[in-house]
């Protein structure tokens, strides 16, 4: 194959390095944001995406009901669990999926330049695209089918991190390993 990052022009390697570094920063802050709003446990992810009707809230169809209970000032100031309703999830899916596709494509282009077996290339590209699919599939299944599918979203998130880590580690190693620099 003509495209090989190990033998590529230094400018190409520099571009790939900066791209991976930038995506890495984005992933770190993405994980931070997920930690703030949805959490990393199946329970907290389920609480973020599940439909309220699945959470022990029997909604009377024909009668409006009123429930009153005393609250403290602290209770009222307490931030509720961030929830993503169906409208927001539609919007999130619409804006995130194209961006995830572009990121997976960019990482796949980097992966194509790695000196790895053909099957591993296929597996890596599949992982890069499967991760966001799992992520959003999990969110929708949690909302529409069962809170148990929160685990799929978590799997998607970890798969995204794993895919990036594999591509970045192999690319950095193959592009900048010391002996290569010494040869030049």
């Amino acid at each position: 194959m003509l495209y090989d990052l190990r033998r590529s022009d230094a400018r190409v390697r520099w571009l790939v390095t900066l791209l991976l570094a930038t995506l890495g920063v984005a992933y770190v802050f993405g994980a931070w944001m997920v930690g703030m709003y949805a959490g990393f446990t199946p329970r907290s992810v389920a609480a973020t995406y599940v439909e309220p009707s699945m959470m022990n809230m029997s909604m009377p169809a024909e009668t409006t009901t009123v429930v009153e209970h005393d609250v403290t000032l602290e209770d009222m100031g307490h931030e509720e669990q961030h929830q993503v309703d169906r409208a927001l999830l539609i919007q999130d899916t619409h804006v995130h999926v194209p961006m995830y596709g572009v990121i997976a494509a960019l990482l796949s282009i980097v992966a194509l330049g790695l000196a790895i077996p053909r099957w591993m290339g296929f597996a890596l590209i599949t992982l890069l695209f499967a991760a966001p699919w799992l992520d959003f599939m999990g969110m929708w299944l949690t909302k529409l089918a069962s809170p148990r599918f929160a685990i799929v979203t978590l799997a998607g998130g970890w798969a995204m991190g794993l895919g990036y880590t594999i591509v970045a580690a192999l690319a950095f190693w193959q592009m900048w390993r010391p002996e290569k620099g010494a040869q030049q």
């Binding site: 709003y37 024909e62 009668t63 409006t64 209970h69 000032l73 931030e79 309703d85 804006v95 995130h96």
Partner: protein, 180 residues
């Protein structure tokens, strides 16, 4: 490649930025339910017919068919009512707190949450005196404070003011139909 770059730029532009807290809820409670010594949460779970009634009145239904009114009581008498309203926009959600006095007039309006992107626009609208326009108006009065800042602020701040108006209108309709 050009399509790829344009796609990335479009996705970046459409991306909703994280939520930021402009004012803590506890501070808002202290201001809009000032003097209350006891608080009660009244959760109104709407039936489908009441949901339609609210939709006809305000063009809106609450996300989970539940409206929560926070009642501030003094000597066991309701002294004021507070409701938090989320308003969605393509730039992300914002949250408006609307406090009513015991006569049903608006005691105050505060924007509690915005997004990183919308915060400067909202702050601009607030600095132009948007929220002071609501004070003393009746729950059934049309929310038109946004028109008072028109021309004094930028285009996006005007848009944010319209969203805040919308939140106040939703709160007013909820209060009028399901609290009083």
């Amino acid at each position: 490649m050009r399509i790829l770059i344009l796609g990335a730029a479009a996705a970046a532009l459409l991306h909703i930025t994280p939520t930021v807290t402009l004012v803590d809820r506890s501070e808002v409670v202290a201001r809009l339910l000032q003097g209350a010594d006891r608080f009660t949460a009244r959760e109104v779970h709407l039936s489908s017919s009441d949901e339609r009634r609210l939709h006809d009145a305000a063009g809106w239904t609450p996300p989970d068919d539940v409206i929560t009114f926070y009642l501030g009581k003094r000597a066991d008498q309701v002294d004021g009512v507070l409701v938090f309203m989320r308003v969605d926009s393509p730039h992300g959600p914002l949250e408006v707190a609307v406090g009513f006095d015991k006569a049903g007039a608006i005691r105050g309006v505060e924007v509690t949450k915005a997004t990183v992107e919308t915060k400067p626009w909202i702050v601009e609208a607030l600095r132009a005196g948007l929220t002071s326009q609501y004070r003393g108006t009746a729950a059934n009065a049309p929310s038109a404070a946004a028109t008072t800042v028109k021309g004094k602020v930028g285009m996006m701040a005007e848009y944010m003011a319209e969203l805040i108006d919308r939140g106040v209108a939703h709160a007013g309709a909820s209060y009028r139909l399901f609290y009083r």
